[in-house]
Symmetry: C2
Subunit: 221 residues, 2 copies
């Protein structure tokens, strides 16, 4: 019984890691679609989003079945619940990649981004995709230190995000309100995506340590 | 055993309903702070957000204890898991009210909103607070029809949100990029808040019917 249970639990974590890989690829492709005004890439992300939603529904069903049939306790229970939460965050990351792809499609054949802000989005894209790929590793390894190291990348994303605001709100901004609105929303999609990646990593720390980081004073990372 | 279990489950649903009331009040107060550039109200929302976070942590702990000690199955298991998900959405709604309050504070003593868009935010505020208050009712009643009726209000919020974009992107927009950026983000906060309220209601439908609306073709509401 316990044996079968741990096989199922490993399978569940494996599916979650696969979801991380899916949403990393989605955001990588969406960013390329955005930077290059590439309609085919945007369509691919938009078409693939249903797969992420399906993967999430499958993870959740698997987790529910585990809870109902095996009634896990202690660390095992925490792991299953962490998977349920993480699957929700990962689905949301897929949605955010979808939003980026839709923004690229909406402005096609124009580029949604004026040249002056392209480097920021290129860097934010790389940072958040790296976050998602390392989240995949954390799900596999449950390495607490690796999870904590995600925080630095998230800080970098927040920094670029803040800087973007100063660029579009500067007096010499010459690309008008519509571009500023696009950039505002796009910046927020990347920032939220990074937050969700960190939240998945935090859940995995919770699994490994039994303590949820960020829920008590001094307990943040 | 079962008896005690149902008492605890009712208590858990009661705490969730209380969280709904908290985040409804938070958004109501934040909207007033935004519309009237009222710093004291904004500060109140900002100061109270920790209470929502605490309530969520408490709901989650209570749900974990229930799962570990009672190992519920079938509808009972679904209910506990729905509560865990709903508590996460409700905490997020509290965060979004916090963001609105912070936007009001950031622009104080100025008003963050030009007069021309105030009616839209006034109406969006009323619609989303009404959504949260009705979500509270749905949590208490588990009334499937009441949950479905939330969809119409959510559509109304989406409609105002879309219209806002056409206002700020119009050629005769005269309030500059900074105001447009504020309005873009604020509009998104209200729209996300409404989405989360609907998602909580959907979870409650899942509890009552065993089917998650929006997970299959034709199953959306």
């Amino acid at each position: 019984m316990r044996e079968a249970y741990h096989v199922e639990l490993d399978e569940l974590a494996g599916n979650l890691a696969k979801m991380s890989a899916q949403v990393a690829t989605a955001m990588e492709t969406a960013t390329k679609a955005l930077l290059d005004a590439d309609l085919a890439l945007a369509q691919r992300v938009i078409g693939d989003d249903a797969k992420v939603d399906d993967a999430r529904a499958e993870c959740e069903e698997q987790a529910y079945a585990l809870l109902a049939l095996q009634a896990p306790v202690a660390t095992d229970l925490r792991t299953v619940l962490a998977v349920i939460h993480a699957a929700e965050s990962l689905e949301r990351m897929g949605d955010l990649a979808l939003h980026v792809a839709k923004a690229a499609r909406r402005r096609y054949p124009n580029n949604a981004l004026p040249d002056v802000v392209r480097p920021y989005f290129s860097e934010m894209g790389e940072a958040v995709v790296s976050l998602a790929r390392r989240t995949e590793e954390v799900i596999k390894s449950r390495d607490v230190d690796a999870a904590r190291s995600l925080e630095a990348d998230d800080d970098r994303v927040d920094e670029i995000h803040r800087h973007l605001f100063s660029v579009i709100m500067a007096k010499d901004w010459e690309f008008g309100v519509a571009a500023a609105v696009d950039i505002t929303l796009l910046g927020r999609f990347y920032e939220r995506y990074a937050d969700h990646a960190v939240s998945v990593a935090k859940r995995m720390v919770f699994v490994a340590t039994g303590k949820m980081p960020g829920y008590g004073p001094g307990d943040d990372f």
